[in-house]
């Protein structure tokens, strides 16, 4: 069962205190252009995965697909985690951004959902504070020091978002029992932002508590060596729910960074194919996990709980304008009109 935490959320005050720093007041602020009629304000998430080649001969027997029989996991707790970041505007030496994370829970025996939202948190990232911000947040989340340097301000904001998401994943996998835990992304460790030891912790925590951890990617850098096509193309001619893999052993470079078995799966008839990472040696068979995840999928094949986690953490255009206003007030910023608008008023 999910840890009983009625009325109590995960403790994040320490992280919030670390990331929501102050900057010198009176700086000019150029808000990002927001159109209220835009329903989805796009924000880039995560570092782009490098392109690695995969040796899969489509004529080989291993490319045979396994059928999925969707089964709604009514008796199992389902938890989905996602996070988002947005740049609210530019300041002379950086930016002010906001991040938010969501945890969606479907309790065992029920179909309704509950939601925990962490954020929005206003984060000023400048060339002057980004190193300290990055390293202190890394330590606050993972409990270890890093000597890595912060990337540019925009990427640093996304890394901070990633740290918050990983923190929540660590807490969820470390407190839940016998749950289906859905994450957005993949199970890659050993990157600058995601130390291998931490990712291993997430995986081992999960397995020891009989959880089924599933990472779902809408896109991937893994590419078939012969055809130079993305691995998602492996299911191009398959329309019924099915999966293919594990293909991790066929990855030609740095495969030790991949901590899970790697599959390509179509979870709903005519739905989109996704890359799905599942840790090896799970208490429940991978085939059974696929059946349960497919049971949660809507027509487009994406699991409902992950969709809810995403939709509840993204910032609406209304919220972005509110947050821009909050940033101006909180940091004593002065509004600066966008140069293009000033030059081309109509």
């Amino acid at each position: 069962m999910y840890e009983v935490r009625v009325g109590r959320m995960f403790e994040v005050d320490n992280i919030v205190a670390t990331i929501c720093g102050e900057i010198s007041r009176g700086q000019p602020f150029e808000p990002s252009s927001i159109n209220l009629t835009d329903y989805f304000i796009s924000s880039t998430k995560g570092d782009t995965e490098e392109t690695f080649l995969v040796n899969v001969d489509q004529k080989e027997g291993m490319t045979k697909t396994q059928a999925i029989v969707p089964k709604y996991p009514i008796d199992r707790q389902v938890i989905a985690i996602d996070s988002t970041s947005i740049t609210l505007g530019q300041i002379p030496d950086g930016l002010v951004g906001a991040i938010r994370a969501s945890i969606i829970t479907k309790p065992a025996g029920r179909t309704e959902h509950s939601l925990e939202k962490y954020g929005p948190y206003l984060i000023p990232v400048t060339n002057q504070n980004k190193e300290q911000l990055y390293q202190e947040t890394f330590k606050a989340v993972y409990g270890i020091e890093t000597h890595a340097h912060a990337p540019d301000c925009s990427k640093t904001l996304d890394r901070i978002r990633n740290f918050l998401e990983r923190y929540l994943q660590l807490r969820v996998t470390g407190s839940c029992i016998d749950s289906l835990i859905l994450m957005d992304g993949s199970l890659i460790g050993g990157t600058v932002a995601d130390p291998k030891s931490i990712m291993k912790n997430i995986v081992s925590n999960s397995n020891s508590r009989k959880n089924s951890l599933v990472a779902v990617s809408k896109s991937t850098g893994l590419t078939l060596r012969e055809s130079q096509k993305n691995i998602l193309s492996l299911l191009d001619d398959k329309q019924a729910p099915c999966y293919i893999g594990d293909i991790r052993d066929r990855i030609t470079q740095q495969k030790e960074r991949y901590l899970g078995s790697i599959y390509v799966a179509r979870l709903a008839p005519l739905g989109e194919p996704f890359r799905i990472d599942i840790p090896p040696k799970t208490p429940t068979s991978h085939s059974e996990i696929f059946n349960e995840v497919a049971g949660l999928a809507e027509e487009d094949g994406y699991p409902e709980e992950l969709r809810l986690a995403h939709m509840t953490c993204v910032h609406s255009s209304i919220e972005i304008i509110e947050l821009q206003s909050a940033a101006i007030t909180l940091h004593g910023l002065t509004l600066k009109e966008e140069l293009r608008r000033r030059i081309f008023p109509l």
Partner: protein
Amino acid sequence: MYLLTKEADELAIVYSPEENLRIGDTVRIDGIVAQVVDIQFADLPGVLEHILRKSLVAKTETREHIQPQVRSVIDSLTDQRLAIAKIRGRITEVIDEQGNRKKIFKTGLSEFNISRAKAEIKVMSQNDLFEALGLNFPISSDFGKTLSTEPRNLEVLADRLGINLITGMKGSGKSYSAKRLLLKLIEKGVLTLVFDLNAEYLNLWKSNETTPNKYANLIKVFTPRLHRAQANEQPLLIPLNEVTYDDFATFVNVQSGSPTYQHLLQFWRDRGGNEFDLNDLETFSDSAQNDAVKMALQGRVAAAQALGLFGPSNLTTTITELHKTGGAIIFNLAQIGQWERSIIVEFVLRKLAQLGQSKAIRAVSLFLEEAQLYVEPQNMVNILTRMRHVGIFPTFITNDPRTLPDEVFTLLDNLIAFMFRNEDELRQLAKSGLIDQKSIYALKHLESRQCIAVGNITSNYPVFLEVNPQAEVVMGGETRKLVG
């Protein structure tokens, strides 16, 4: 607050929830005066999507950890308000006869020179508004208080009453307010006659079930068919010569054209305009030659005597006496039939007209609750057009304004309107021309005892107000519950 649009005489003002604004408030935009008649959410693009996204998971199942410094800003844009305000006119400065500068209110707007970006929008204080309207309420005013960000007590000024209408749906507080107005008029030394259809005004002279209040000596109740006077209540008697032979025949159930009817006609004609009573009719009956007619007449006279409606009346004396001090005469019409009501009302109106014409009285106020139930249309027009010339000022009180003739709305001097939900009734009120339809629609949102007053009593400026409670008076009028 920012001015968003102007369409005809309507302004749309955007403001944040922290800026207090409520229906009834008057705002001043540079020189322009506008009154808030409706409040909505500002319909921003993207709000629907924002709300829909929030509603994906039930509010009860959602927990949030928000950065404390950001919390107050979140949802502030979603909660932006839009006030719809009607342009009422403008404030201009004039120099009075003493050479003092004075601000006065003028209706109409021939020019519109305000900036949407720079115009300063301020809620006008009720004191400033009333001063500009030339409304000088005494400090002791307590009839009601304005519905505005800063409420102010006000009074219904008796010298501004003319033809008045108090209306509102059942339970909206119209009768309560009519009674408050009645008591105020007594305090001003005005005599009011009330046709009380539901016996609601009978106990206004009591502070509780057993104790008289300060109005006790000034309130008299006349009840038909009452056999002897008790406390402030006395029998309402109509002298027989005040009704026609036809009315009497109807009352005692004599068929028109029958020999008995012919005898009644002869009795009335013989006496011309002289006074007579049931004793005279009894004597006349006894002298009838035809035995059948004699018996029929004697039986009818006995029945009329038993009912106790006809007899010598002291109404004239009561009216002239109370006219000197101010007071109220309540005609209890609750437990009698339609015919008797009409007879009584006609008698009272005739008496009032006579007293007015002879200048025995200068002016009186007349309260008519649901007048359509006992005043003939012709008499209604008479009340509206002629009686005010002899000093009779009617106040109609009804829960359905559609039952009143159009003349009421054409000639109306003052309207006090309480809550209505029915749009037909709201449209009917707009016929008065005292207030526009959009403003009158604000009545839909009012609570019990809240109303719009407009007309001479408010210098024709619609004032939203809440009628104050009355202490030390049994106000009555509560609807009984089926259970408990």
